[in-house]
Point group: C2
């Protein structure tokens, strides 16, 4: 059996396009016998590198984007309900993912999907520690242990360094994929990514 | 026969993604019995509204975009050769289009495609008045007449006001489409635009 390199998938928990990609990437990858390594990032850090700002704050492009997000959800047939607060801080969710991934990448991925759905389909405020713990608890995670880890400095430093490593690799948006060294930015690049997997590059 | 509203197609002559869309939009529209009205704009004007800058000047995202442009050309099977100078000023090409469109929308569209191809497949510098006149002359246009119009203030004012009208309508990038009041930004939105035409919205 040929062992192919996994797909690196970078996302911010506050990114609707990241959520859309999260709902699609594992299924897409499995059709080409690829695994996916999920990496939460912080768009706030990448915005500083690019000298830009969150989409909703940009004149003209902001209002367009809010419309495009809803249309893209319908196009991709992904359930989407615009959250009351958008965007939000996602450090707690990112750190929780990192802590879970060290224990079980599979549970971490389930957590990521459940967290995305809580925020983007049920309007639960994922910047709230209680919501992060409740989502993890719903998967059978020991929330006392997770809560203690989230309160400590070690996990904070670890997640910060993971985000910096992503930025150092050239990741600047959400979703962002790296496949065999080739970078793809945006949920609208999934068709190109699929062609890349099918043909081994093009 | 049902008369449907035309598709408004906005583009900057210096935009590779605008060029890709220009190679595809008429064929796509005709499959749904739609006409396309072509509108050159100036991204420099929209960048001021958004507080942004040309792609190549943006850290990290700039280098990614140069790669994405070439990959997207291969994906869409559109011939593309990165120009030596990029981006360039496109006022002369935009004004020439406007002057031609007043006389024959069909010749103007032929000019737009020929100008895009001159810049993006033959590396001819479209910011140069001589190149603009040569492209128009290749279509049988009287270049003395066009040259005189380009030297006058009337055409400059007219094109400026057309670009301002586009910005006032919410156009902020290239390519940009408006179909029955619905805005689509980016060549990567052509599949959504097609679904919109096929289903009368979605």
């Amino acid at each position: 059996m040929l062992l192919r390199d996994p797909i690196d998938f970078y996302f911010d928990f506050s990114s609707p396009y990241g959520y859309f990609a999260a709902e699609r990437i594992d299924g897409l990858a499995s059709r080409y016998e690829r695994k996916v390594v999920w990496h939460p990032i912080l768009l706030g850090v990448t915005f500083k590198v690019l000298g830009t700002a969150p989409l909703p704050s940009i004149p003209v492009k902001g209002p367009y984007s809010l419309r495009d997000i809803q249309r893209t959800a319908r196009y991709l047939e992904v359930l989407y309900r615009p959250p009351s607060r958008f965007p939000i801080a996602t450090q707690q969710a990112g750190r929780a993912f990192t802590w879970l991934a060290d224990r079980s990448p599979d549970v971490a991925r389930q957590f990521a999907l459940a967290a995305f759905r809580a925020y983007f389909t049920e309007d639960r405020d994922l910047s709230d520690l209680g919501v992060v713990l409740a989502v993890a608890g719903g998967l059978g995670v020991d929330t006392d242990e997770l809560s203690a880890a989230l309160a400590g400095d070690e996990l904070k430093a670890r997640f910060k360094s993971d985000v910096e490593a992503a930025v150092a690799r050239g990741v600047f948006g959400s979703p962002f994929f790296i496949v065999d060294g080739e970078p793809f930015w945006g949920s609208d690049r999934l068709p190109q990514l699929e062609k890349w997997l099918a043909e081994g590059g093009f």
